[in-house]
Symmetry: C2
Subunit: 363 residues, 2 copies
DNA sequence: GCACGGGGAGAGAGCGCTCTGGCATCAGGA
DNA sequence: TCCTGATGCCAGAGCGCTCTCTCCCCGTGC
């Protein structure tokens, strides 16, 4: 059982088909420049022997791996409480498998993991990397740049690489926040509070900016920095109610913290949305639909963002295949392309997807 | 940027250290049989050049990949709504990285994906596989067995491979269910209902068995088959209330469906736990803690199960390293080992972890 | 009819590594 | 002193594949 029959080699296929190894290789890799009868013979031999190319041998010479690393930095345990990453992973996986690429998952839990991941990427095991949830002080971008691995970031990074900017995919956080807050204002609410995410992440900072765009001259006591978790949302909500018992709306920076806020509101006897209207951000199904009342929230197409990241990365890897640009990589309808053409391949440095407000019962 | 300096080879390291490639290789791989001064010189050269072994070249000759596939079969969209898999992934990732193994994630979404995964596993890209959430009719086990890849299953598979049984890790579903139901009975409830999971999965079937162990002669109308989702839980709860409006307790086969049931109960004006006591299963934090009221549930250490799966698999891969058995692979305290010694390596065919009841407010 | 060109196939070199012999070198016993 | 047996290192083969280079064969043009 542990010793299965040795796998057939290309040599064996060639012998069976009565051709040279080179011809067999050509057929296996697409069959250009080989005449039909030989192609058929080789194909037949491949099927009969159950030949599968040895990826290690192939990589050794081509220096390609057809594998992409997905790096998720997870300083806290947050990642896995939030379906957000799971959805992105799904989008990524779909796109990668559609292009015969493998997904190597690298989870960063502790400080030394950064070094490990850096070493892995530098080791040239993968052709590229998709990197998530960076904080501003994260050492990872430096390691990646040093490793020289083509990378696409999930969420706008808060720094520049001096070459036209890192390539990333994000949703329009600021505009989404504006839409949410405008909706609250349109409901006649004037004392709108904001529970932020960790402000060292651009998504949280951008949402705060959007909030401020609409709520100019807001009472600073109506803004509490939190951490995207339900528990953090609870705590922030308590603080807000203590500071400004008269608040009549809350915009939480994500659904998870909105769920925490809802619980505290109920606990304190505030009716939602009658007394306090609540809006979240993300629209991650299991959370937003299951709260009481169901959460009005800003929707971003998370899975699509994952898919887009993968597509963008694969496009960059294909530069040998000749100049793909954003235009044919991604359907440009409905999305904004930022900083086009600065970097060497003429690819966009950022792709920003629109958001939509999903009305449920909480606002 | 796309063309970085060529990575240093072992040859370069050897040259710099003034030794042969073979000696350099020995040092890189542990350094046995090389005298100290040479070891130091090689190490120094490695550091100075920033040498990282080329995994492809290494795999080509060793036939090892130091990579493990994690296969998640996800016929519905369920996987990603449920933090369950995320937690297992985390445990697996920790254990794998601790042993310098990579995690290749294979998601199965549609029917043809089975073939793709089967081909990948047969292609010898990974040393082993961890496989999840199999349904009884799943073609995957057959493909895996055919591919001859060492595999550990998450959750007891519902079939046998005729060699002492497939190796798996599971929690004691049946006993957990018994504990839950006994707790409800101990609370004075006599009309206990059960919302099952999909009964083609052993976890759901085992929990039902445990329910029946305690509720002998139960009214069949008190049992509704569901699907582990919140929406399914809602529907099941409605059906139960219609059939038996007098029910006074519900044991849901997982937390997600319990959350759905709670919502319906509230909607129908039943107080929890006063009118109806509710218990879930899994104790996945974000769900169980965030329901209203917080959910009493059966806890299984999901992350530890993941870790155990990885450890078990790595142990099986290490048979060349000389007969590891369950005893030193896993701490045997608190866990049950099933069907020991039937298969060739004397490894356990199943490892079953205990569950504990976590009391919160719902029962 | 002969030179020439182009396309299709094969031979062979290597990708970077591990690992098996085999050859020194040195210690210890006769 | 010579032989034996470790011990430590090197030389070289080869893992399975791709890809260039070369050769051959056939069709074409003058």
């Amino acid at each position: 059982m542990s010793d299965t029959a040795p796998r057939p080699t290309l040599e064996a296929v060639a012998a069976r088909a009565g051709v040279s190894r080179a011809t067999a290789s050509r057929v296996v890799n697409g069959g250009d420049g080989v005449r039909e009868p030989l192609v058929a013979r080789v194909r037949k031999a491949v099927d009969e022997l159950g030949y599968v190319p040895n990826q290690a041998a192939r990589s050794l010479v081509t220096r390609r791996h057809d594998a992409v690393a997905v790096v998720i930095a997870e300083p806290e345990t947050r990642v896995f409480a939030d379906p957000f990453f799971a959805l992105q992973l799904r989008g990524i996986s779909k796109e990668l498998t559609a292009h015969d690429n493998q997904l190597v998952l690298l989870l960063i839990e502790g400080r030394d993991d950064h070094a490990r991941v850096g070493r892995y990427l530098a080791g040239g095991h993968v052709d590229g990397a998709l990197v998530f949830s960076l904080h501003l002080d994260d050492p990872l971008p430096g390691l990646i740049q040093h490793a020289g691995v083509p990378t696409v970031f999930g969420g706008r990074p808060g720094w520049s690489d001096g070459k036209g900017g890192p390539v990333y995919v994000d949703c329009d956080n600021r505009d989404g926040a504006r839409t949410a807050v405008r909706h609250l204002v349109g409901l006649g609410r004037s004392r709108v509070a904001h529970i932020t995410g960790p402000l060292d992440q651009t998504s949280a900072a951008d949402r705060l900016d959007g909030f401020r765009d609409v709520m100019t001259d807001v009472d600073p006591r109506l803004i509490v920095e939190s951490d995207f978790t339900p528990a953090g949302g609870e705590q922030a909500m308590r603080e807000l109610l203590d500071r400004r018992p008269d608040l009549d709306a809350v915009f939480a920076a994500n659904d998870l913290s909105a769920a925490g806020a809802l619980r505290v509101l109920r606990e304190r006897g505030r009716r939602v949305p009658e007394d306090v209207a609540v809006i979240g951000f993300d629209d991650v199904g299991p959370v937003a639909e299951q709260t009481d009342p169901p959460l009005t929230t800003v929707r971003q197409d998370i899975e699509e963002m994952g898919r887009l990241m993968a597509r963008l990365l694969l496009g960059r890897l294909d530069h040998r295949g000749g100049g793909e640009t954003a235009g044919n990589l991604v359907s440009t309808e409905n999305l904004r392309i930022v900083g086009t053409g600065e970097n060497s391949e003429g690819a966009p440095s950022g792709v920003v997807l629109p958001t939509t407000l999903v009305r449920r019962a909480s606002a």
